[in-house]
């Protein structure tokens, strides 16, 4: 219960950030963005405190004052009245409610079975939180314990450790709550973004497809960083569909890089893809303003991420610190490529944990619903290219990493695909027609 009180402060910070940087965005999207942004903010403030000695609260108050001033100066945009519910909305709403109830039950069961989290959760994320909660946090970079991956970014452990300091109690409630918030905020953000673009029924269906993916719920409850990353990736893909969301998309890209190393790859691919797509669709002059806004959202937090990554953390054990010859030798091994490239479509077909892969069901749904003639092509193609580039990057890392490739595929494939899954559902629902035309 105390952890819920501790959550009030990041919630307030998140609301101020979402309202100031994403003003004009639909209110439900702001709500679902708030807590993850707030958790990202307190993890940064904790890192600033540990690195500079400046109390985390000072940094947080500065952020709150700046964001609050923007909200006050600009004012609150008028609320859009929700559409009147039809019978279809009610039936889809019932289906979504049943699925969410089942998901909540499963989430609770997974937490009950493994309160410390899955192997990676306690070995990496919750372990780092324990270091970050003490003045001896730099010892987590020790070469004596390389298996805890000291180079991994700090959003998840930092937010848990900061919640501990806010509540004065170092217990598992904080990591359980953070896992819960990211899992269900991802479902909420997906549903609210599609609702705003294509109508309420379509939005609820999108949320239903994600909530009905058992592996997504299990992975979320495992307390690893893949679902938080999937949240920020979804935000990076979905927010630019709204003119007012570009600045926040940049911040979410940086938050992704602050969550997992895959987020750095996201930053590396999304910025050039967005810029190129904007130049092609709007010309160089038309592309400059949104590109600058995206980079303005990205740069401040990315600077902190890069400082942590290159000034403090040890090299990454997948690629960093290895001789070039070893990397080239593995990158040119045809057998490794064959294994990885065959595993990916197999993983997509089986993804989700149901007798039929949820992507297969989504594809059938898309075929039945048919393609929308007037969809937001810029968002669709930019998002698709981003996911394709990320998937290609994951394949390259899987091929060149030094461990047994069978083990790597077995342990990482579904997790990595799950990072892309919410954004992929968003793109499919943007591309297909709603079950009935929106009003």
């Amino acid at each position: 219960m105390i952890v819920l009180l501790g959550l009030l402060w990041p919630a307030l910070l998140g609301v101020l950030l979402a309202r100031s940087l994403g003003r004009g965005l639909p209110a439900p999207m702001q709500v679902f963005l708030s807590l993850p942004l707030g958790l990202g903010a307190i993890s940064c403030s904790l890192f600033v405190q540990l690195e500079t000695g400046l109390p985390a609260l000072v940094f947080e108050l500065l952020v709150a004052l700046a964001a609050g001033a923007v909200c006050w100066r600009v004012g609150t945009p008028p609320c859009v009245k929700p559409a009147i519910k039809g019978s279809l909305d009610i039936w889809i709403g019932v289906g979504l409610a049943v699925t969410l109830a089942a998901s909540l039950y499963r989430f609770r069961i997974v937490i009950f079975e493994a309160p410390q989290g899955a192997w990676d959760a306690w070995q990496i994320w919750n372990m780092h939180a324990r270091f970050l909660a003490t003045p001896y946090w730099r010892d987590m970079f020790s070469s004596e314990i390389p298996w805890t991956h000291g180079d991994y970014p700090l959003l998840l452990p930092g937010s848990i450790a900061r919640l501990w300091s806010l509540t004065g109690r170092q217990d598992l409630d904080a990591s359980h709550l953070v896992a819960f918030l990211f899992t269900f905020a991802t479902i909420g953000l997906l549903g609210s973004a599609v609702s705003a673009l294509k109508g309420r029924a379509h939005g609820m269906l999108a949320a239903l497809f994600l909530a009905a993916t058992p592996f997504f719920i299990v992975q979320g409850a495992s307390q690893c960083a893949d679902i938080p990353l999937s949240f920020f990736l979804l935000a990076v893909v979905a927010l630019p569909a709204f003119e007012e969301g570009v600045l926040l998309a940049g911040l979410c890209a940086a938050m992704a890089a602050w969550t997992k190393n895959e987020g750095l790859l996201l930053v590396a691919v999304v910025a050039p893809i967005r810029t190129l797509a904007l130049c092609l669709s709007r010309g160089v002059r038309g592309a400059s303003a949104p590109t600058v806004r995206f980079l303005a959202g990205l740069a401040p937090l990315l600077a902190i991420v890069l400082f942590m990554r290159f000034a403090l953390a040890p090299p990454n054990d997948h690629i960093g610190g290895r001789p070039l010859a070893a990397l080239v030798s593995q990158a040119t091994d045809f057998q490794r490529w064959k294994l990885v490239l065959l595993a990916v479509p197999r993983g997509i077909r089986r993804l989700g944990g149901l007798p039929v892969g949820v992507p297969v069901l989504l594809l059938i749904y898309g075929v039945l619903a048919g393609l929308e003639a007037k969809c937001d092509r810029l968002t669709l193609w930019t998002g698709s290219a981003t996911l394709a580039a990320l998937l290609a990057g994951y394949c390259v890392v899987c091929v060149v990493q030094p461990r047994d490739i069978y083990w790597q595929i077995d342990t990482a494939l579904y997790r990595l695909l799950m990072q892309l899954w919410p954004a992929a559902i968003f793109l499919v629902f943007i591309a297909v027609r709603p079950l009935r035309p929106t009003a």
Binding site: I109, Q116, F131, Y136
Partner: protein, 130 residues
């Protein structure tokens, strides 16, 4: 004809969604509950925490190959963080995890004495003063 086809497709999509809801709900509600296997080991190590330094480096060794039972070492590190546990026997403090009771007899030869035993397999060890 086009309108009928459109209606049929919408019905198909709705049927697919109903199947998805049923399959996912059945899968979630019928999932078996497995016991928590990690927490008991953590509780064992947690008893050591008050007797060890809160930070710095301590050693961890076993009569089995540590790498083959890495989870036990990792769980010890997880429980005792920010104390860093190094595999080896050249520290002032050490945690010994022994399956064979006779291993205890060899501790003297490597310069350790038992500070406290936490069950038959888990020992807190301290280097003997020269």
């Amino acid at each position: 004809m086009t309108s009928r086809w459109q209606v049929a497709r919408q019905f198909g999509a709705a049927a697919l969604v109903i199947c998805l809801v049923c399959m996912a709900s059945w899968k979630e509600f019928s999932a078996p509950i497995a016991p928590d296997t990690v927490s008991p080991t953590i509780e064992d190590y947690a008893e050591l925490k008050s007797s060890l330094p809160s930070h710095g480096v301590a050693c961890y060794f076993s009569d089995k190959d540590v790498e083959s039972q890495a989870a036990l070492w990792y769980l010890a590190e997880y429980t005792l963080a920010p104390l860093v546990l190094r595999v080896g026997s050249d520290c002032g403090w050490a945690i010994g995890r022994f399956e064979n009771p006779r291993t205890v007899d060899t501790l003297d030869s490597i310069g350790f004495r038992i500070e406290r035993a936490y069950g038959p397999q888990l020992l807190l060890l301290r280097r003997k003063q020269p």
